[in-house]
């Protein structure tokens, strides 16, 4: 009998059913580690929620603050105007001299700049330019015609009509005939009438704006102004440069990898990935300055691990679910198949191939002889595909033809693809591989700028550079936060 096989047999059989109860603290440690992982998962979700809430609150507060300032001045003005109008109604009999005085007062009420801007927004650009040119004439016309116009009751109808007093106003002490006669005597030329019409239009816009909150003031209901809000839809795409910030790497995930990319040098062999992002967006103008932007975007982010050594080695898990692992800062990449499947396939054919039978150019470095004797050096690309649903608030900084907006917001990202491939000579060779322990939902903080420029009347060209930073870690194990930068370019149609 030969001893080597006997010795082997002795130990193999002697130890095959050997069992020994481990000390209790081993399970305690395992349980603790598992609980820690669960806690981390929950904590990340909580952090993301808290951050979302904080961001929304700060934007919300900013919005309310900006609006409440305008409202205070505006309400004071409107109240004054309202009182004057009421006085006018109450004192119809002495309309002649006093009315003129009071209406002069109404005319002199200064409209807040913010309101004027809002009014201007509702008038098209051409109308504003036309009005500006004719400003001097209009002023003259308004001055000369003010009394007549006021006497005609044109100034008051929006208020009076709704209160059911319009007829009363017309039945005041000075009659239509008198007014008409006075008017004829001035012999206005056609052009002056046109100018006046423009002035009236401008003034009516002011009134239209004023009268909306006036009723709520008297009736005590909602004072929100909704008339000028508009919707728009658009589509945009961008090249996307993505990378990651490494805060903490769990050593256990490192130890569990068969191949480590370059941990000792803080993963210095890792490089940003250039991919793309595209999507459709829906915009809602809350006010003149604020616009809410949402939609659905597809984004691919990831990173490249360059010169990763793949040792020609057999996986220790050799059955149907065998895999080997490459460790990167974003976690371990589990590649199905044996560790040297790429290399093995190279050995079977003349031309080198990688996993899946895809040909690899000969100069890529996958030489048959080299593969048999040395490690493979290859670039692994981890690709993570997400569907992003953002909520971005755009604040209009410059309100010219070329609009400039400041953008900030959040997005919820839903992981839809988790792939890895080998890259070389501009070609990619897909692997049956996944990065492990990725969070299926992520949250991005978004900051950037948004530019828009009208091409046609309602069609705008959009240009939006955005920086996105992942609030939560991409991986359940490590604290690694991906970020990306893209310049979204596209078109938007305003309804």
């Amino acid at each position: 009998m030969t001893l080597p096989s006997e010795i082997d047999k002795l130990f193999k059989e002697g130890l095959s059913d050997y069992s020994q109860r481990p000390p209790g603290f081993v399970w305690d440690n395992i349980e603790q580690a598992l609980n820690k992982q669960r806690f981390k998962k929950q904590r990340n979700v909580m952090y993301a929620l808290a951050a979302s809430l904080a961001l929304l609150l700060s934007f919300g507060a900013g919005y309310l603050f900006t609006n409440s300032e305008t409202d205070t001045t505006y309400v004071a003005q409107v109240t004054e105007l309202d009182n004057l109008n009421k006085n006018l109604l109450a004192d119809k009999s002495s309309v002649t001299a006093e009315e003129v005085k009071q209406k002069e007062a109404v005319k002199n009420i200064e409209i807040p700049v913010a309101i004027q801007n809002q009014i201007n927004e509702n008038v098209t650009l051409n109308q504003i330019q036309a009005l500006d040119k004719k400003e001097t004439k209009i002023e003259k016309a308004v001055k000369t015609e003010a009394k007549k116009v006021q006497a005609e009751g044109i100034l008051l109808p929006p208020i009076f009509a709704d209160q059911g007093n319009f007829e009363n106003a017309n039945n005041s002490s000075f009659t239509d005939v008198q007014v008409a006669e006075e008017r004829e005597s001035l012999e206005l030329i056609e052009r002056q009438k046109m100018d006046l019409a423009m002035a009236l239009m401008k003034r009516d816009l002011v009134y239209e704006y004023r009268e909306v909150p006036m009723y709520p003031l008297s009736e005590g209901t909602d004072s929100k102004v909704k008339d000028y809000s508009t919707w728009s839809v658009g589509m945009s795409a961008s090249p996307l440069v993505s990378y990651r910030e490494v805060n903490n790497i769990q050593t256990e995930s490192l130890a569990s990898a068969d191949i480590t990319s370059n941990y000792e040098n803080k993963y210095q062999n890792e490089k940003p990935l250039v991919s793309y992002s595209a999507g459709i967006d829906v915009n809602y103008n809350v006010s003149k300055r604020f616009k809410i932007q949402s939609g659905v975007y597809y984004s691919e982010i990831g990173q490249i691990s360059e010169n990763v050594d793949v040792n020609k080695s057999r996986s220790y898990i050799n059955d149907g679910d065998s895999y080997y692992t490459v460790n990167t800062s974003m976690g371990n990449v589990n590649i199905k198949g044996t560790q040297n499947q790429i290399v093995d396939q190279i050995n079977t054919v003349d031309r080198p191939v990688v996993n899946g039978g895809i040909e690899v150019p000969g100069n890529y470095g996958f030489e048959k002889s080299a593969a048999e004797t040395a490690d493979l050096q290859t670039s692994f690309v981890q690709s993570f595909e997400y569907y992003e649903i953002p909520i971005i608030l755009n604040y209009r900084l410059i309100d010219k033809k070329l609009g400039v907006n400041m953008s900030g917001g959040l997005s919820a990202n839903f992981l839809s693809g988790n792939n890895a491939y080998v890259e070389g000579d501009g070609a990619r060779y897909n692997l049956d591989a996944q990065s492990e322990n990725l969070n299926s939902v992520g949250y991005n903080g978004i900051v950037g700028l948004a530019f828009d420029y009208p091409i046609f009347s309602k069609l705008y060209f959009n240009f939006q550079p955005l920086f996105k930073y992942s609030i939560n870690s991409i991986s359940e194990e490590n604290k690694v936060h991906p970020y990306s930068f893209g310049i979204y370019t596209g078109l938007r149609y305003n309804f």
Binding site: M1, T2, L3, P4, E6, I7, D8, L10, F11, K12, G14, L15, D17, Y18, S19, Q20, R21, P22, P23, F25, V26, W27, N29, I30, E31, A33, L34, N35, Q37, R38, E252, A255, S256, N311, K312, S313, R314, Y316, I317, N318, D319, G320, D321, Y323, N334, N340, E436, N437
Partner: protein, 191 residues
Amino acid sequence: MSDLLKDLESLITACKRGKPDAQRKLYEHFSGKMFGVCLQYSKDYTEAEDIMQDGFIKVFTKIAQFNFNGSFEGWVRRIMVNCALERFRKQNMLYTVSDIQDYDYKLASEDALAEISSKELLNLIQKLSPQYKTVFNLYAIEGYSHQEIGEMLKISVGTSKSNLSRARVILQDKVKLLYKERKKDVKLVVK
């Protein structure tokens, strides 16, 4: 399918969903045997406990990848062995033996072998140097070839062979000593 297997399958399924109770039960079911495996690859209890801990955390974090093809126990065992190897490689304990000797052995009394307990065998293995121990375990117990062991431990086939031979000689000597202590007549012939 037996009830035991069904129970195991439902336990695995529950563990895939991360149920703490199922994880504990699964651990209890396999802990004895797996601790035996860990002890085989370690020099003492402390090391075995560390391997066991890393191994089971890996089992629970990777259990989603187990697709019920093949034996679950085999899968868990391979993870334990894998963890032991990772530890071995991390510590970089590379003892090389340059001389390759072709030893041939003979035992006079086969019956005597049966009288050595598993515990004693384990103690003998544990006393081997890390590389001898690992090579012997992988070759004799797990059934890997020298080519495969060379790849796993990043050593040459020759080194793997010589390590195995040395391990066998040492174990043989120790087995012989054990018998001597028991005043058994064990004859060893080395060609």
